[in-house]
Amino acid sequence: MRNKRGWFAFPYVIWMALFVVVPIVIMAVYAFTAADPITNATYPTVDNFTGMGVYLNVFLRSFWLAVVATLVCLLIGYPVSYWMAKEGPRFQRLAMALIMLPMWMNFLLRTYSWMSILENNGLLNQLFRTIGVIDLYNRVAPFFVDLRNVFVTYFGGVTTNFVPIDHFQFIGTSGAVVLGMVYNYLPFMILPIYSVIVKLDSSLIEAARDLGADSARVFRKVIFPLSLPGILSGVTMVFVPSVSTFAISSLLGGGKQTMLGDLIELQFLGGAYNPHLGAAISMVMMVIVVVCMVVMNHFGEGEEQAVML
């Protein structure tokens, strides 16, 4: 009986080998080869990796922005999950539905919705103009510029003239990219944390209270450690897509905030055709992400079965 239905898994094994394992192997092959620009012949090399130092900035920026976005998601997502789990079942169901709902709109649509808000002539700048924030800035900022100029004349340096602005620069900044990531991936943080917290045995909390812990201590000593698996899985689910995103950075980053995803896309479908380099960058990113995840899961030893969705 034991292996009677084992063959059910057989097509799946073939499929996974073909469409998961083999592609990664091929990617590795590409990463360790290069094509001669004239003859188009490929030859093995590690130049793709050694020459990657040029893109150190891109790597650093990608990881930095992804870390910031993940932290912001955690800072928003955890309290939301925590308070949501305290509400009644009807509220919880509604809130869950509302969190899932935007995911059925494609994430590009969600990102696009921010473009029209953040443009120089966009809704946010219009709002600031209407309520006078920009005027206020133009009136207040010269004072600080003058102040700085006074210092500069004393201590040396270049004086600057105040140029009045008619908008704040949102689009094209790293802040806008982080905003886009937080907006898109926040549900991925809330869902796993919430599903862990909501399953916490209330008798544990009662027991902690019974043993004399106040609510702050209950949270610190009981609730938070027990929700760690959810946090870990949320962090992974936000960090991985953030570090590899390319559409968000090109839409909200105005093409100036090049990230790893953009770099890879550029090598495949963008202006700089070099799939070998693209494969190498993908490999490096994959390895770094895997290492990050192993390290993180190490923190939550034994609780690796974190809840997915």
Binding site: A9, I26, Y55, E119, N121
Partner: protein
Amino acid sequence: MKKQSRLGGRLFIGLTFLFLYLPIFLLIVFSFNAGDSSAVWKGFSLDWYKALFQNRLIMESLYTTLLVSLLATAIATVAGTFAAIGLYSLSRRKRDALLVVNDIPMMNADIVTGVSLCLFFVAFFQGWGAFAQWFNGVQSAIELPTRLTLGFGTMLLAHISFNIPYVILNVAPKLRQMDKNLVDAAQDLGCTWMQAFWKVILPEIKPGIVSGALIAFTMSIDDFVISYFTAGSSTSTLAMRIYSMTKKRITPEVNAVSTLLFLSVLLLLALNSAREARQERRAARQEIREPSFFEKLSMRLSSPAWKWIRRGGLAAMACAFVAVVALLTGAAWSQPVVNVCSWGEYIDEELITQFEAETGIRVNYQTAESNEALYSLLKSGGADYDVIVPSDYMISQLLEEGMLEELDYSRIPNFEKIDPRFRNLPYDPENKYTVPYSWGTLGLIYNASMVEEEPDSWGALYDDQYAGGVLLINNSRDALAAALLHLGYSVNTTDEGEIREAFSLVADASRRGVFQGKVMDQVFQKMEGGNAAIATYYAGDYLSMLDNQADGVDLRYVIPEEGANWFVDAMCVLKDAPHYDSAMKWINFIASTDANLANMYYIGYASPNTEALERYPDYYREREEGEELDPELYEIMAAPPEVLERCEMYTVLPPATRALYNELWIQLGT
């Protein structure tokens, strides 16, 4: 105190939801905007919904999205369920090893999955091409297609691949929770394994299957990155369509389609939660559950009337499925097709409809962002285009690499109407491969209300006084050409020192924050909306910007004193184009005087057709109901010979120089 903290929590949740929904709400509001801006309210209208249903490109991509998501979900759900059952029949060691592989697509970054699948498909296609050629060589009974390309099929395979793990992840726990003896019990009571599967296993793991399917569907609908890398060039999901639209002008049709999507999801969700609430109430009253869908199904299937269907049940279902898919693809196959790849906003779409009506050939019209992006697409094997419209220097490059097919000019009588000025140009000296599509100049576009003095030099692009207001053209050739011209060098220089000097001019300006961003077709939206002061772009596009500029924006075009680039875009056919005949018809149609006039009027680029150039002022008057064509604007569109004198055409650069361009260009973003 407790109450207070609860209030605080609710407030926080409320703010988060505001954050999540405000952009969507604005998106919806502006779908009803009478104007075409996503930022300025001009009154209520349903025009964009009407436009949406007439917009073939969006509707087709919507259809593609739904089809791929539904098919992938259905297949992945069935496959994943069986795989999960299979996995649970394996020994623990084997199963754990397989589950690690199962995690890869879920944990890997989308872009890595997409890239690896793309490379895999391309490698497979190459291998297949070699095999098919050999196979066709040794026998003649079966003719195998030698050229496979990325497309709907590969995208579907990719979607299935990343969906199966989610299904398994949801079904597996239900299998684990299921009493292991249930199947034995059913068999003991006389069921075969298959009967036990339908009567016992399926109802037991149904919640897992349903949630697995739901998540698979969500992932499919939400996916952009993997589709982007595996769909190739002639298939577009809605997300891909929007992505290519964000690179030029996004019209509120996108808002309309978003609104419709959002509302339909909302409706589904509301129905579902109503159903759940009903079930809960019933459970609370301890009522007897009515039979589930599967039970009803199995009851119905055991009734005599269904006996014959049930006999061949699975076979019938499989046949039906195959038939539907075959019908869908067959419908696409049976109709002659031509795959065209051009640039954004580069054709009067009426012409497509007209051509289809006249010839019965379906036009699969796609766009690329730049010559370089087009080149990447062609090289990565993702393209199965017939007709492309690259610029002069790219044509040289493609010819150098032997990627173009000679044209059959006997079937393009309209070629006769092409002005001799645009024949036998350096990129195609004998004119065997190309039919010119349009021509124009590259110059400075500026918003007169945002600059103090009118710029007449490329230097304005690097001027600190426009810090944050300059749009750098996102194309290494054009961006460096401006810098080279400013420095007094040739746009075709191969001197590394000159190129590096030009690059540092751009890079320094970038470091000082002069540029607002690197853009291609996004320039429309930015300049029209007054979001940027100066940009480098093409004359023809300047004219269409003029038609759309917002209040208070005053766009002007100038060819700087250092001179500029002039270019010709020409239609070519790719080697081994699958629809050569259709391609000839399309080229001849587009080369006609009428089509050239329509295109000139619509896209603002000058035509190479002598008759069209002559007749354009009259045509314009006709279309604008008597209004005269401004001769100054016409000169911008079709630059007179003395202006062209000052301009230089690009020639193809040697590979080493191209590599230098690429390397420098990537550095700019870092």
